[in-house]
């Protein structure tokens, strides 16, 4: 069960791209160990919201407190937060010029400044966790999509973050590779990691989520535990979206 200590507090968040408002008055609290799954139609602001959490986007208004640190213009804060927040992208974004092992050690060595030998043994540990210990010396281009995404998850884990963000981690994968990634994510959830996942994999969501969030037009229109969210959501738009997705 999640503890009751908030680790991410999003209060009245606004985000503008020029004149376009991508997020409007978004509030959400995530507690330690909690798993939040965000869904909603394309363009509803899901990516923008989680990218604000590690400040790949700067929010325009409201407050955002991550692990006790308020995100603002002080670079030191931002880097401190990013070390605690891992992020997995739809397009993997592995470093193509580095081997799998180097992808995993470059952060710990250069950013965390831990000794190389320790970084390597840590990297091997997390490669085991994502079930590809044998791929350590390959380059990303030599791996399948599912393997690349698992390497990307391991790369984040090597920084030993307290929070993991996933932005549609299985959307770019061939269908037969989706489960190997979801399995790794499920195991991670069971280990007690705090997670925010943007995904339309509703089976996974139903299994691991403590809290479901539905977004539309830059607003959160529904927050509910999965038992309620999947059976009787209050918002009719949310119901329509679920009907549409569960058809497939």
């Amino acid at each position: 069960m999640p503890e009751d200590t908030p680790i991410i507090e999003i209060r009245n968040l606004d985000k503008f791209f020029g004149a376009f408002q991508a997020l409007t008055d978004v509030s959400l609290t995530v507690h330690i160990g909690e798993k939040v799954v965000i869904c909603g139609p394309s363009g509803s602001g899901k990516s923008t919201l989680i990218r604000c959490v590690n400040r790949l986007e700067e929010h325009s208004g409201g407050h955002l407190i991550v692990d006790g640190i308020e995100l603002n213009d002080h670079t030191r804060n931002i880097r401190a937060v990013r070390m605690e927040v891992g992020m997995v992208f739809q397009q993997f974004n592995l470093f193509p010029h580095l081997t799998v092992l180097e992808n995993l050690t470059v952060g710990p060595i250069r950013v965390r400044k831990i000794p190389k030998a320790e970084a390597i043994s840590r990297a091997r540990k997390y490669l085991d966790r994502v079930h590809i210990p044998e791929q350590a010396d390959k380059y990303p281009a030599q791996l399948s999509g599912g393997q690349q995404q698992r390497v990307a998850i391991a790369r984040s884990l090597c920084m030993e973050p307290r929070i993991m963000l996933f932005d549609e981690p299985t959307s770019a994968l061939d269908p037969e590779m989706i489960n190997e990634v979801l399995d790794v994510m499920t195991e991670l959830a069971e280990s007690g990691m705090t997670m925010i996942c943007v995904t339309h994999e509703m089976g996974f969501a139903n299994k691991v989520a403590d809290k479901m969030v539905f977004m539309e037009d830059g607003k959160i229109v529904e927050i509910a535990p999965p038992s309620i969210f999947f059976t009787k959501p209050k918002n009719p738009r949310c119901q329509a979206f679920l009907d549409q997705i569960l058809e497939h």
Binding site: L56, R79, R82, G86, Q91, N93, P96
Partner: protein, 284 residues
């Protein structure tokens, strides 16, 4: 290519005119044919020169040329003037190019920094250098900046060449850096890297393969444009050529030789970089 699709294929039976035209084209594009054409053109040019020289009664003294490359005397082996000039040219170009890389990288990073002041400084620099003939820039460095800061002609030359090429180098670097996808930045940032760390460990190593081809062009360009410092009498290949001619009056032999030496150097550079490109292509 796309025009030769299935629709016009039935028309081209073996032996048809179209087929013959196509074969003729293919033959013209083949390597042996290219070499033949090249040799033919070179023959015409050389023949023209020699016939012209003949007509003006030029006295060829090619037999004296090897001495200016190297001599073996009673004291043993000695490099000739042209070889010494080549070494000077290589030194001058190397120093200038290293400095150009440093200045070019700074200008490129300023331009990419997103800071208003940084971008402004970079753009003023680029526009100043790009709109200035190299010869005028050299005079500015030698007669003005050199006079103010008490620079000798060699340092003024290096600075001038470095600044001139830094503008071009910075554009090459900028294009190569921009060729890396924004996802690489985001991944590097999301594991906590600073901007400097992103460049050093993630972005620049990947940019190298985009830089190599245009950078070779720049090195070749540098070797060639270094000849201009002969106008302020800095000792290098071209200056030495001029001096030799005023001593010996063998202008045809010496300019031909100097041209050949420049070509050998720049061709070798191209071969070297092709090799480097292959190596980098494998590891990335």
């Amino acid at each position: 290519m796309s025009r030769h699709t299935t629709t016009d294929r039935p028309a081209s039976q073996p032996g048809s005119t179209e087929q013959m035209v196509r074969q003729a084209r293919k033959l013209l594009k083949s390597t042996p044919m290219a070499v033949l054409i090249y040799l033919g053109i070179m023959y015409l040019i050389l023949y023209g020169c020699l016939a012209g020289a003949e007509a003006m009664g030029y006295n060829w003294q090619w037999y004296r040329m090897p001495d200016y490359l190297f001599r073996i005397t009673d004291d043993g082996f000695q490099w000739g003037e042209i070889s010494i000039g080549l070494v000077k040219t290589i030194q001058l170009s190397t120093l200038s190019f290293v400095l150009a890389l440093v200045i070019g990288l700074i200008v490129a990073l300023l331009r990419l920094s997103g800071l208003v002041v940084g971008t402004a400084v970079a753009i003023v620099f680029l526009e100043f250098v790009r709109n200035m003939p190299l010869l005028v820039l050299l005079y500015i460095f030698y007669y003005i900046i050199g006079a103010i800061f008490d620079l000798d002609r060699y340092s003024a030359s290096i600075l001038c060449l470095a600044v001139f090429h830094a503008a071009l180098v910075s554009e090459i670097l900028r294009a190569a850096i921009n060729a890396i996808s924004v996802g690489q930045w985001e991944a590097a940032r999301s594991i906590g890297m600073s901007t400097l760390q992103c460049y050093r460990y993630i972005i620049l190593p990947q940019s190298i393969k985009f830089m190599l081809p245009p950078m070779t062009g720049e090195v070749v360009h540098m070797v060639k444009s270094s000849a201009i410092v002969s106008v302020i009498a800095v000792a290098e290949l071209t200056t030495i050529g001029r001096n030799l001619i005023s001593d010996t009056y063998m202008s045809f032999e010496i300019w031909f030789t100097i041209a050949a030496v420049y070509m050998v150097v720049t061709l070798m550079l191209s071969v070297f970089v092709t090799f480097m490109e292959r190596r980098y292509a494998v590891t990335t």
